[in-house]
Amino acid sequence: QEFRFGPCRVQGVALQELREAFWTVKDTVQAKDNITSVRLLRKEVLQDVSDAESCYLIRALLKFYLNTVFKNYLDEAADVRIRRSFSTLANNFFVIASKLQPSEDEMFSISESARRRFLLFQRAFKQLDIQAAQTKAFGEVDILLTWMEKFYEF
């Protein structure tokens, strides 16, 4: 059981653990997102991503989650259940991101296409207040995991 994002292989992550971690806080986290008219991980970002593109895109998304979404998301007052789920997701995203090595000699058009998709997501994120955007991005982890699962070999 491993992730296969095109040429990138990632073992050592039990997708079920991530699912369960998010599932326990889904309603709480998503209820904090009041801007329901905006979806960051829209279809244009994730639909029909080729295998070759997928490694670039997942790496960009996970790095963004690690450096921007998760980084200042927590404070000591955060609900304990959210902190636990957060820790599971952040540490497993950290493992996946550290194992993704997209090849350098891939065609420029492939990485460029992945970059455009990521920019759609990033632009939508930056149009919101940072805290609202972090809350929304955290609440959309189920969309991200569902897309990642398409590249998971059971």
Binding site: L15, Q16, D27, A31, T36, G139, F154
Partner: protein, 221 residues
């Protein structure tokens, strides 16, 4: 109507099986039995407006079929309902974010059994996705969930033993069974992934045929 004059409906949730998505709720506290009517609206996450469903405006039942409105299972949805009674109405009661692709229950497959002396062949037909009308072509849930598997449980009523097998294809032949024995079969669909409620099939029991060779042996001796 005077908004907030009534308590909100309660327990508002989606009941979803094979992508048939029914919104259901309970009457407001203290108004059971009163002539209350309800109005439903739904919302596609990431879009702009709440939308109405005309068949669920001023209804007195406590459910509304939103399968058509929530049929793009890669989208996420909200729904809300308010109660109306005489000149008063409640505030909206709203669901959480509903994600059909992750939350729909996978119904059991259809199970066809045929037996002979020492074997039972099991033919499974994947559950079908909900469709708008009988004329519409069927879509198997397997087309949506390519990693759909089946857990087949076999119970030998004579030896009182049970064992199971996990299969991905649609046929399974159990051979070298005991003749003239009642076997009960139960099949459950499952998709690796988020925790889903499972619906096992109806238990079906079949008896393997009598062993013709021993019957023949009796005749000859």
């Amino acid at each position: 109507c005077i908004s907030g004059g009534l308590p909100k409906p309660t327990n508002i949730t989606f009941l979803s099986i094979n992508m048939k998505n029914i919104l259901q709720w309970s009457p407001p506290e203290g108004l059971q039995g009163a002539e209350v009517t309800y109005t439903v609206q739904y919302f596609i996450y990431g879009q702009k407006k709440w939308l109405s469903k005309s068949e669920c405006r001023n209804i007195n039942r406590t459910c509304c079929d939103l399968s058509v409105e929530t049929s793009d299972y890669e989208h996420q949805y909200y729904a809300k309902v308010k109660a109306i009674w005489e000149t008063n109405c409640s505030k909206w009661a709203e669901t959480g974010r509903f994600y059909p692709f992750l939350e729909t229950q996978i119904g059991p497959p259809r199970v066809a059994l045929t037996t002979d002396e020492k074997s039972i062949s099991i033919v499974l037909t994947a559950p079908e996705k909900w469709k708008r009308s009988p004329e519409e072509s069927s879509i198997s849930m397997r087309q949506i969930y390519s990693n759909l598997k089946y857990n087949v449980s076999i119970y030998n009523t004579k030896s009182n033993r049970m064992w199971s097998q996990c299969v991905t294809n649609h046929t399974l032949v159990l051979v070298w069974l005991e003749p003239d024995t009642l076997y009960c079969i139960l099949v459950e669909s499952f998709v690796p992934g988020p925790p889903r409620l499972a619906q096992p099939s109806e238990k079906q029991c079949v008896r393997t045929l009598k062993d013709q060779t021993s019957a023949l042996r009796v005749k000859i001796i």
